[in-house]
Amino acid sequence: MSLRSRGRDFPLIFELSVPERVGSSYPSPDVPLRPLDELIPARQLREEAAALPEVSEPDVVRHYTRLSHRNFSIDEGFYPLGSCTMKYNPKVHEDVAGLPGFARLHPYAPVEHAQGALQLIWELEHLLAEIGGMDRVTVHPAAGAHGELTGLLMIRAYFHARGEARTKVIVPDSAHGTNPATASMAGYQVVTVKSDARGNLDVDALRAVMDRSVAAIMLTNPNTLGLFEERIQDVERIIHGGGGQMYLDGANLNAVLGVARAGDQGFDVMHMNLHKTFTTPHGGGGPGACAVGVKAHLAPFLPVPTVERVGERFVLDYDRRQSIGKLRAFYGNFGNLVRAYAYIRTMGADGLRQVAESAVLNANYLLALLRGAFDLPYDRICKHEFVLSGLRQKQQSGVTTKDMAKRLLDYGFHAPTIYFPLIVEEAIMIEPTETESKRTMDEFADAMLAIAREAQDRSEVVKTAPHTTPVQRLDEVRAARHPDLRWSPR
């Protein structure tokens, strides 16, 4: 890409600034022009304008367009980030979410005049309840971790209502970092349980820690190794036997859509990442959107307001005595709820089942192509993703997983998730999703195999990668030791 700078720093928008340039136009005041300090006391007024850039509209367009060229997106290429479900984001979703009836709707518009929006939320909650096998769903949370907090607070409120003081939450050692962090935020102590040799949660270890002080287990299924928890029924018996609640981290729901539902596995609460399974775009880190499904016994604790149907009308119900309250203002990341709803209506039951089947077939196919060249710590049929290890390369030639990930960038691919889950050394976690073609996966596998050969034959080129990106390998240590988190005017 010719626009990528070479040899000099790519400018900041501030460095393009020229005094007196403007990039916007607004009408002149059509109301009386009284001195500002008659309206606002002088001591409350800003003394100096904020040091924002002074640029023209073409400057703005060119700057951010060039920045967009210095990015990598699912629109451009393969993004096999394990646990992130980087599937294609349909363009029609952007059009429907941008309809003025959704995008320009005020959250406090009278409910009689927001019936379309409320109907959409109500229907989406019911569609997701069927998909998850749950009784009720809330779509308030803004992201997966926010959903986890919502779920755990409902569990907390449930035990509180029963007069039980439970203090612990069980988390497997393979869990996402958000799980233990959320348990802490919800006021729980974290108990970590190890995985067994097949990559399942170790049921004996679980039995040993389960007692009446445990409020819940947070489980991801399929787990972060991309493997279905084969002993899920044993887990359910142990947790429920001890009076605990089952929480499903639904990050990996894509693998089992229409095949196996959380509710049928005994989960009492689950969250679904609408920005993963239901393909709302990740936006470079967010916004996400999250649904939390619960069984009936937890429904009284849902955040307010809930959307209810009364006859043909939809209403907001704030009057829920046992609710955990609110975790955000308003009702959810509605723009993304529109997209997720559009996706489910487009796919239908058969389409969603095809998603799971193709996601799992793609992962197993890619695994078959790569298994000879890398270590495979858990050798089973995988679900939507699988975890390799770069240990062999590290031991033989000192090439780390990080080096190989950086080298992949030179081949035109985003790297897989690396060094996660923590229980696999030099982990390489690959999730192709159902929207990738066989040809893309063949090309990716060729690149991975080429890098494995390079690690043996010319390891320097891998250790110093990437070579073709807008910048070379970046000094992360320096960034952390000498934090430079903002531009300042000289």
């Binding site: 928008i13 800003r46 929006a117 880190g285 308003f330 952390a480």
Partner: protein
């Protein structure tokens, strides 16, 4: 067989537009895997927990059918292209310049993930750094994070941060803070053993006399909103001084950062943490989300700030580049000891905010901010000139103000709707003693003619 007889409609299983694999490719892939059917790939799922039936979902829609259905739902809503909006209360109807979403909506930004591979993601990272820089300039704080979920949850995270920084367990929160922010604060802090106490308001602003009485060695911080939920300007400097003398922090929620185009920024009068809502910076109303949680603080607190931070560094050739930094605060490294559980944030909204701030620029931002002040002041004048309508409080305001009304505000709103006017927020729902109070918002979007029309309608309701 003719082409006609092999109609595409009779395929056993329709080829889906988002799923590229064809039947023959599936067969090839299964062979490579070494299984004979896709079903075998699910053999590890115990039969007892499988769904033995198709999901009960409505039939799939084609794209034209979907578009028609979505239009029907959208048109059932009274949106601000059809209504003249005087409603604010935490979600603001500002003009969004065309450049903002033409750029932020580019697929290269929209469909990217969190920038885990920095070398490939300089666009997103640099935009994040620019956003952080602009937010610091606006608030006069030292550091800002790359975004939080929304104003309410960012405010709750600020309170948790104050607790961690001071090792104290009580937060004093003004009742002039957005009621939903207070509710969220309550939800977040209860399980952490943070004790919340509400400070009353007086004449529409936080009662500093009462605040002084409530401060104690337990006080981790004081939380105000400025301009507050009633649109009124707080005496932030005095509140900060009180908080600091008690050894606590001053947290300031900002529900509309456009106010900082004219108002003395929180960093200049002593705020320690600025939190709030960035939706007004180029975000659409979106029926309440996605919005943009803002969080900024002082340099000495950076290791307790929640969420992602973008930092500048250099590459092996010495060129400037950007990375996610100080990650040892975050959940994927620290797990249960992290400063927050936040992972996914609102990066795209932060990008849109940066584009918005750049497009408005130094003088434009100030100009739009002043337009808000002037239009609201005019509206305040003409509405309170109508007998029966009077200002609830006489504290100075930015672009919102509270009016006591001769009829219940809900009834006024009902009568305004047929005239295409979306009235203000009735406050009785949150403040029982303000059941005749109406919170009006007048942004730069409102014209003098629209304000006059509102006044003319109210005139008829005396």
């Amino acid at each position: 067989m003719t082409a006609r007889s092999k109609s595409v409609d009779v395929a056993v299983r329709a080829q889906h537009k988002y799923i590229p694999a064809t039947e023959s490719e599936r067969e090839e892939m299964l062979k490579t895997v070494g299984v004979s059917s896709v079903e075998e790939l699910f053999a590890d799922i115990p039969a007892a927990v499988r769904l033995g039936r198709p999901l009960q979902l409505p039939p799939a829609l084609s794209e034209p059918e979907l578009m028609a259905h979505m239009r029907t739902l959208a048109e059932a809503n009274l949106h601000n292209d059809r209504a003249v909006c005087f409603l604010g209360a935490g979600a603001y109807d500002h003009y969004v310049p065309s450049v903002v979403w033409h750029l932020a909506g580019r697929g290269e930004f929209l469909t990217a993930y969190t920038p885990y591979q920095a070398e490939l993601m300089q666009g997103e990272l640099q935009a994040g750094y620019e956003y952080q820089s602009m937010l610091c300039a606006l608030t006069a704080m030292d550091v800002a994070n790359a975004s939080m979920y929304d104003g309410a949850s960012a405010t709750a995270e600020a309170a948790v941060m104050a607790k961690d920084l001071t090792h104290r367990d009580e937060v004093l929160i003004s009742t002039a803070v957005h009621p939903e922010y207070r509710q969220v604060l309550h939800t977040y802090t209860a399980p952490l053993g943070i004790h919340l106490r509400e400070v009353p308001y007086r004449n529409g602003i936080t009662d500093l006399g009462a605040l002084a009485q409530m401060l104690s060695p337990r006080t981790a911080g004081v939380l105000i909103q400025h301009p507050n939920f009633f649109g009124a300007l707080e005496d932030g400097a005095a509140a900060a001084d009180l908080a600091h003398r008690a050894g606590g922090l001053l947290m300031c929620a900002v529900a509309d950062p456009l106010s900082l185009g004219v108002l003395n920024p929180p960093g200049a009068w002593g705020a320690d943490i600025v939190c709030g809502e960035g939706q007004p910076l180029g975000g659409h109303l979106n029926f309440g989300g996605p919005y943009l949680g803002m969080l900024a603080t002082r340099q000495e607190f950076i290791r307790r700030i929640p969420g992602r931070l973008v930092g500048a560094t250099v590459d092996t050739d010495g060129r400037r580049g950007f990375v996610l930094t100080l990650q040892t605060r975050e959940q994927h490294i620290r797990r249960e000891k992290a400063s927050s559980n936040i992972c996914t944030n609102e990066a795209l909204l932060a990008l849109a905010a940066a584009i918005y701030m750049a497009a408005l620029g130094k003088s434009g931002f100030q100009k739009v901010s002043e337009l808000n002040v002037r239009k609201a002041a005019y509206a305040k004048e003409v509405i309170t000139a109508i007998p029966g309508f009077r200002l609830a409080f006489d504290s100075p305001t930015f672009h919102e103000f509270v009016v006591r009304t001769p009829l219940p505000p809900e009834e006024i709103n009902r009568r305004l709707l047929p005239r295409g006017i979306l009235g203000g927020a009735p406050l009785g729902r949150w403040y029982p003693d303000l059941s005749d109070a109406w919170l009006l918002c007048v942004t730069e979007q409102r014209t003098r003619a629209q304000i006059d029309e509102l006044a003319a309608q109210l005139e008829k309701m005396r």
